[in-house]
Symmetry: C2
């Protein structure tokens, strides 16, 4: 299969849903502008695409859950806006463009983030996007995403990440940060497949193992790219983690060993998909693609 084509097609579907969803005007206009500025700043839509591919792996058809999968991008975008704030990572650039607060000011940036997060739950609690889905599946999906995003997931990882700047890296803390800050939402993304499909425990467990492995791999590769990548491809200055003394895999293990860890994680991820049929091929290809990405 042509994975590039698959990714482009799914990205276009997610973009098209988000564009159409936000056609209805929000007041005041600056709030809508700030939300859409970051939402359409060039994200690859990896999390929604993982959810769609996982749903296909479980025997569903992707368009059925397009709206719900797209909420993952709202949450991811909110987290980027808040992470970039002066009080947090104080980043001026994101994907090669000025960060949200640089364009709209801190107050609007904070509120645009709040609004994107909340909007995700507006969509997740609206059964009309896919009336044939049992309401109980939808509620479980909403809970999965809320747990992954909050004080027992992404937010916990971000707090620990900040607390650990300039600290000596240690394995336990590093894993806590990565598991929560990045891997938790990626795990929730792939779990959305079996949850919305109503798959059995065996599929759910296998998909969870897959999600844990690629979630961690995703962040390890991000860390490596921050050391090795070109500023132009990354859309942010290379080495920004090191400048900030962030706790990262390359800092703890070096680049070579970090690359080995990423390879092993992807290999484990692929093994956990063994129980799934050919419908899981896009998911398999995505795992491989994540390993080889350059930005």
């Amino acid at each position: 299969m042509d994975i590039k084509k698959y990714l482009n097609g799914q990205k276009e579907a997610v973009d098209s849903f988000l564009r159409s969803y936000f056609r209805e005007q929000i007041r005041p206009p600056v709030l809508q502008e700030a939300m859409l500025y970051s939402l359409f700043a060039g994200g690859k839509r990896i999390r929604p695409i993982l959810a769609l591919a996982a749903f296909e792996a479980c025997g569903g058809t992707a368009p059925e859950i397009l709206a719900y999968a797209s909420t993952l991008e709202l949450i991811h975008t909110y987290s980027l806006i808040h992470d970039d704030l002066p009080a947090m990572d104080n980043d001026d650039l994101r994907r090669g463009k000025p960060t949200n607060h640089k364009v709209y000011g801190e107050a609007v940036a904070i509120l645009a983030g709040d609004a994107l997060l909340t909007e995700a739950f507006c969509i997740l609690s609206d059964p009309s996007w896919s009336p044939s889905l049992p309401v109980s599946h939808l509620l479980r999906a909403s809970r999965e995403i809320a747990l992954a995003s909050g004080a027992r997931g992404m937010v916990a990882g971000q707090v620990q990440d900040m607390l650990s700047e300039k600290a000596e890296p240690d394995e336990g803390t590093l894993e806590f940060i990565h598991r929560n800050k990045t891997a938790a939402l990626i795990l929730a993304s792939v779990r959305l497949g079996p949850i919305l499909r109503g798959s059995g425990d065996k599929e759910f467990s296998a998909m969870s193992r897959f999600g844990q492995k690629i979630g961690l791999a995703f962040q390890v590769i991000d860390d490596i790219l921050d050391v090795e990548g070109e500023t132009e491809e990354l859309g942010k200055p290379r080495g920004s983690d090191e400048d900030r003394k962030k706790m990262t895999y390359p800092r703890l293990y070096g680049v070579v060993k970090s690359r080995e860890i990423a390879n092993q994680l992807i290999s484990d991820a692929l093994s956990s998909l063994d129980i799934f049929p050919a419908e899981a091929d896009p998911l398999r290809e995505i795992a491989q693609y994540l390993l080889n990405r350059r930005s």
Copy 2:
């Protein structure tokens, strides 16, 4: 009935739920501390109590929806933490205590707010708090709260509020701010009653009218108290709205006319409860209490 006793009893129930819910430790500890610092900073739990009283008015028993009603306080608290930030209202005091960012710093305050908002949806998407409630009612409640809190509710009101500082007050803008910033979540609170109870359209409409009226009245009274109240009772400096040139009812209409508007709103609110039986008496008393409050 003794409304003070009723309010105290319901407040104690909400506090007790929240205390027990957060007994499970969140890591890193500073995140949990920051969340609980503001959550237990002396809030009167008006929004959860309105939801409980509205549920009783529709024939339910309050403890059945205690967990779901309590989420309104998580959302209210998150909004206060973010509103107080230096980039927004830059308030040092809230209910007589240093604001969250004064104690924990801006970054943790932003993230504690994010976590409280997200935690609300963790609870709202967990049917195990009341297994006898139909899952579809729960999903509808979650949607009601999400809509009221986000870009078509509270967040929109806060953005407009900031944009309107120092602007000449006009009726349309003032109503937009109040309807969204404060009234939307209060409306959602009372609507939670008929939604979770599965009441008919007639009850839902009547409760919605009640919620719209007391929601607006609540903010008008807040504005009046900011002009007339004592710093000690308010827990923040009197006249802070005026110092900041906030768009308020007293600024547009004067205090006397604002008081008349509040009276009329509460009177209209009470009329809309006419179709409800004696079980709505606590709700009626609360409306009266809101009008006469001093802080």
